[in-house]
């Protein structure tokens, strides 16, 4: 996949994006500040910013990213504002969120 493909999710089978206005906010992902739209899924904002790896597996340290995108598979879990194992594919962005990768 080329680097400049836009990976932002705009249509979704179970989440309603109609109320997502285009208010731009800033969130921090592993220390890096990125722009995001308030209310869009965290994973969507992260992928759109160019970061593709959300976490690594405990044993083989192999990279994991968005997979099911509907909150079931838990491949996209990250620590959000100190809460571990949050499903970033279905959790909406709020301004100033601190998001960190996990090794689990």
């Amino acid at each position: 996949m080329s680097g400049n493909t836009n990976l932002r999710i705009t249509e979704h089978p179970i989440l309603d994006f109609s109320k997502t206005d285009s208010r731009k906010v800033t969130i921090t992902v592993n220390g890096k500040r990125i722009e995001a739209y308030e209310g869009e899924p965290i994973a969507s904002a992260i992928l759109a910013s160019g970061i593709k790896v959300l976490r690594r597996t405990p044993k083989l340290k192999s990279p994991r990213s968005l997979f099911c995108a509907i909150g079931r598979c838990s491949d996209c879990v990250m620590t959000v504002n100190g809460t571990p194992s949050v499903r970033t594919c279905v959790t909406p962005v709020e301004d100033g969120m601190i998001i960190e990768s996990q090794d689990i």
Binding site: P58, G82, T83, P84, S85, V86, Q102, D103, I104
Partner: protein, 399 residues
Amino acid sequence: MKKSDVIVVGGGLAGSHTTFHLSRLGLKVILLERGSIACGASGRNGGQVLQCEGKDRDKDIILNRLKYTKRSVRLLKELKDELDFDYEFKQVGTADIVTDEEGLAESKELYELSHSIGDDEIEFLDWKGLHEVCPYFADFLIGGRIRTTDGNLNPLNLANGLVDKAKKYGAEVYTWHNVDKVVIESGKVKGVEANGEKFSADKVVLATSLWTRDLLPGFGFRIFPHRPLVSLSEPIPYFKPPAFEVLIGDDVVWGGTQTATGHLLVGGGAGKPRTVEEQYDYVLDWEDTIRNGRALAMIFTKIKAVNVLRIWCGVSAYTIDGLPLVGESAMAEGLYIMGGFVAGVCWTPICGKLLAELIANKTPEVDLESMNPNRFDNMKIELPEKYNYAIMLEHLGRL
């Protein structure tokens, strides 16, 4: 008819350790298990390797316990190299945590008592010390004692690893074989009947704990059940908390740990007092599920949110003096009992080894005297008609 030197009934940790050591000593062993390996109490507990529970102050009681449990911990370390299954033994320590100044003073006192009798594996933790060990503990947990050599493991993997190795040493293992009867003729054990088939041996080990009463008419009431709850969260990043126990208010003792795979385990006793038979039959109710969730939330409030995958009801076995029954039964020649473990994960390794040595006519490395299975013969054991964890421990004088 199948023949062997020894038949072991029960494929939990007690039976698995015993089968492993007997096979290793060169005896021909048949292991019979009514379900799958470790499908009962052994597969449903928190996996805590807990050497001394409670607040015993009697020097002899404490030293007698440590005589066995220290050997168990050593065995658990040695077995890592011998078994082909990783049972995830981690010596993260177990902490006895308190919530008020009175408890902290008592904890300090017990810590000093331990050191005065040469038990130096205990450390005392004040608020700062405890929260350095585990920053995720809630602020109302103000300190306590920690035994640094304790820890946790995966009991299902351990039991399966032992059975797997025993098979390689020559043991025959029959799962889904329900033993209907122990065959005793003129005071001597002859074997067992399981699934309508005859199994013959001069020595039979009943590693059936709470269910020994169903197999052995006249065994009576020596081991009694209590049903603890356990809940398991989704994996979260490993933050290395010690295994712990804490009394919250007047509620039962809650305990927990984090498994090597990141799952957070929290559990405690069922709430409502129940009769012995109700304890046997208990299945988790909604009220207890809520109580368990509340305890998890209170202890780990700093984690903010965690998804619980499942909650279930375990089985613990108690005896009136807190020690298991291990050794030859007076009920028949060649009949051995191995059961009644309160903290079986920690006690079964050494007990399985000692029992195997006894059966193989080797001198056991430590005596089994205090665990004599006949010590309650002719003794009337009484319990309150209905009990929960707190009522039972108060009755036994061990709270």
